[in-house]
């Protein structure tokens, strides 16, 4: 429910997201400091019911997995170098089907790059971060309102689908302060974690039609729980090469890909009669909002698609881009990572790219590309 009086404050998205995560029921923040994610660390120290300073990023993800296995909802925030260290453990958490939220604050790479410069360069890494190319749910906020709602959706999706979820953002989103009416934000409730019904006997990885097994934590008095990072069957034990265990792994793909409509978020600002579409995400989306306003002011018919569920790709995204004659992808990287994700590396007259490295894309740069024939 929205409150009626406004409360305008000067605030950054790190604070908005931290508050939203806790209100949604996140229990513990496990952190290792890394720029530009440090505001999450300091706000979480103040706000999370439980806070732990990990000694390194591998430990961070392992501790989070332990907490999640014990029934808690853990959160961390990092940037590329941290995520690189977390990668094997992230695969483990995915395989064990443990809910958790990882906020990835992109900064300029490769390698340690420039820690205090924003970027949108980690999408392709995330696309392949799970061996086998399985998709994790990846959300990317385009403004402060998204920062709030997508944090809630991240917690919800992590619990509902028993999976790690990544919120993919950038330095410019989480370290820039803006005037913002915090009373315009919907009050959030803790996501319900009551174990759903199952057909007895309980097995930790036995799933029904919804493809997601019922979760009981380690240490519970009712049912034996076996969690496993290696290829396993419904009983949580290794049965190398058995059809049942292979099917269990295939289910990890299907539970997210076949149900992506339940967590598909995007914003289509469609102009009647427009043949050109601008597509953007994350920190460049707000630039695209300005560009579209300017283009329309000069009587250009153009539509805007802002993608918020980055992976798995919702079918609706393909349907939208298929219905336009030209599609301009605007993102702050040199290689057009989201464009590649949707339509590959191959160039075509239909697809245009606005890319930049080391500073934010300006509205005029998008406008020029859309106007260019």
């Amino acid at each position: 429910m929205k409150t009626t009086t406004s409360k305008k404050v000067l605030i950054d998205a790190s604070k908005i997201m931290t508050e939203a995560l806790v209100q949604s029921g996140a229990d513990v923040f496990v952190g290792y400091p890394i720029t530009p994610s440090n505001l999450f660390y300091s706000y979480s120290k103040e706000r999370f019911p439980e806070f732990l300073a990990g000694p390194d990023e591998i430990s961070v993800l392992q501790w989070m997995a332990g907490y999640a296995a014990a029934g808690k909802l853990p959160v961390t925030a990092t940037s590329f170098p941290g995520l690189a260290l977390m990668t094997e453990s992230l695969n483990m958490a995915f395989m064990m089907e443990l809910p958790m939220v990882i906020v990835l604050v992109q900064r300029l790479g490769p390698s340690t790059g420039s820690a205090t410069t924003g970027a949108q360069g980690d999408l392709k890494f995330l696309e392949g971060v799970i061996s086998g190319g399985f998709s994790l749910p990846i959300f990317s906020p385009s403004n402060f309102n998204d920062a709030w709602t997508l944090s809630r959706e991240a917690v919800k999706t992590a619990i509902k689908f028993r999976t790690p979820v990544v919120i993919l953002t950038s330095k410019e989103m989480v370290m820039t302060q803006k005037s913002f009416d915090i009373n315009s934000l919907e009050k959030l409730k803790k996501v319900d974690r009551t174990p759903k019904d199952f057909e007895p006997p309980y097995q930790p990885y036995k799933a029904g039609k919804d493809m997601v097994p019922t979760f009981y934590p380690l240490g519970n008095k009712q049912y034996q729980v076996r969690l496993n990072s290696s290829t396993h069957a419904a009983d949580g034990l290794i049965h190398k090469g058995s059809p049942e265990s292979m099917q269990n792994t295939i289910r990890l793909r299907d539970k997210l890909n076949l149900r992506v409509d339940e967590f598909s978020f995007y914003e289509l600002d469609a102009e009647d009669g427009a043949k050109d579409l601008i597509v953007s995400w994350g920190i460049t989306a707000d630039t695209a909002r300005d560009a579209i306003k300017n283009l329309r002011a000069s009587n250009k018919k153009v539509s805007l698609l802002i993608v918020k569920t980055i992976l798995p790709v919702p079918q609706a995204i393909y349907d939208i881009i298929d219905s336009y004659e030209t599609v301009t992808f605007a993102e702050e990287n040199l290689t057009g990572q989201y464009k590649q994700l949707l339509v590959g590396k191959r160039t075509s007259s239909k697809y245009k790219m606005v890319n930049k490295f080391g500073s934010m894309i300006e509205p005029s740069e998008i406008e020029k590309m859309v106007n260019f024939k």
């Binding site: 997995a65 332990g66 453990s89 915090i182 034996q224 496993n228 290794i238």
Partner: protein, 410 residues
């Protein structure tokens, strides 16, 4: 009532004669002797031959990554936060080597769990390669060229703070040692020497020659814990900044404030942004400074706009307020003909900037705020009183007000 059996009837997955068989039986027996039921125990396993134990335990089990199981166990133990539950972690000597940091961290924090290291001096699953726990006698036997002494993980864990750490080579003592370790509150480590019949000696009597002497170390320490707290909303203590000053400004203006670390540049920018909000404008503010925040330049960008701000970039600033050489060196390339530029009189510039004695009238710490105040007065974008209003309840209100008012002397 008969104790629940922790050991299942599953077939032992190990080679005939493998030490892991005795080790596993000893752990399950110790747990039963201590009265633990199957649902009271969480068994955390690693990778390697020792990682095959899950089906042998009728307890809860979790099978993780190579070397990381002590860290996973720490998460489970802290997450459960229940002294009636027992977390047992099992790993081999290879796992203890690659994950040494996790053992030290669990020891340092004295987390309530028992780590049992099945030390057969080698990597059994990958062909008998030596590990960081392989002794030099054993490496000679394996014709391995290096002569580095093995890690003494019992001593390392002890020095890092483990409540109890022990090495035991004689299987007759396995049960009593495990009971003592499991019964110790806090972090306990048991290194058990075990045979690998495929890649090392077949008999324990031969094997003993290659092992490190037994050792038992104790620290009297409090169990590690984390606090679970009730916390308040991060939004609770932020002041609302509703419009209370007039502004006739209709457009968007980008202001760059540049100076040196410690000179109040970032806080002056925040105050300008907040004052803009009191004048009913939309604002954004971002800072830029070197990684070493205490030295070098400090630059802040503030956008003030009648319209809602989407794009927060500022390639061409409309206004630049520069108070030190550090700041000028960082931002001078961004100066354009159209920009209004105020620089401190002491900065040498080749530019038609307006020079003012900001540092002279307000000191090093007040110069940036003085410059903001001066520009507000000159531009008339909104009244300087909005800036004064922002600082009136500040801890250092007097000094800040003095910096703002110093602009009158420019």
């Amino acid at each position: 009532m008969e104790a629940e059996k922790i050991l299942t009837k599953a077939k032992m997955p190990f080679c005939p004669g493998c030490g892991h068989i005795v080790n596993t039986r000893s752990i399950t027996k110790a747990l039963q002797d201590l009265g633990y039921g199957t649902k009271d125990v969480v068994m955390v396993s690693d990778i390697g031959c020792s990682g095959l134990v899950d089906p042998l335990f009728a307890s809860h089990t979790i099978h993780g990554l190579h070397g990381r199981s002590p860290a996973l166990g720490v998460g489970v133990a802290l997450g459960l936060n229940n002294s009636k539950k027992k977390v047992i972690v099992i790993q081999g000597d290879g796992g203890a080597t690659i994950g040494l940091q996790h053992i030290l961290e669990a020891s340092r924090r004295n987390i309530d769990l028992t780590l049992v290291v099945f030390n057969n001096l080698l990597f059994g699953m990958t062909g008998g390669q030596v590990s960081g726990l392989s002794t030099n006698h054993f490496k000679d036997y394996k014709q391995s060229a290096d002569n580095a002494e093995p890690y003494d993980i019992v001593s390392l864990a002890h020095k890092a703070g483990a409540a109890f750490s022990i090495r035991v080579n004689d299987m007759k003592h396995f049960n009593e040692v495990l009971k003592e370790a499991i019964g110790t509150p806090g972090f306990s480590l048991v290194e058990m020497t075990s045979l690998c019949t495929s890649y090392s000696m077949k008999k324990m009597s031969e094997f003993q020659y290659y092992t490190v002497d037994e050792e038992r170390l104790v620290n009297d320490r409090r169990i590690g814990f984390t606090r679970v707290r009730k916390t308040k909303s991060l939004f609770k203590n932020i002041d609302g900044l509703s419009a209370q000053f007039p502004s006739n400004y209709k457009n968007r203006i980008g202001v760059v404030i540049a100076g040196s670390a410690g000179g109040g540049v970032q806080s002056a920018a925040v105050m300008l942004a907040q004052a803009g909000m009191l004048a009913g404008l939309h604002v954004s503010m971002k800072g830029e400074y070197p990684i070493t925040v205490g030295t070098g330049f400090s630059v802040a960008e503030v956008i003030l706009s009648k319209e809602k701000i989407h794009f927060t970039g500022l390639e061409k600033p409309n206004v630049m307020l520069v108070v030190t050489d550090d700041g000028w060196n960082k931002v001078s390339a961004r100066v354009s003909e159209e920009a209004t530029v105020f620089v401190d009189a002491k900065i040498r510039v080749n530019h038609s900037s307006k020079t003012r004695d900001f540092v002279k009238v307000a000191g090093k710490k007040g110069a940036a705020l003085s410059a903001v105040s001066h520009w507000l007065k000159e531009s008339g974008i909104f009244p300087v009183e909005a800036l004064e209003k922002v600082v009136e309840n500040h801890k250092y209100a007097e000094a800040l007000l003095s910096a703002i008012r110093s602009a009158e002397r420019l």
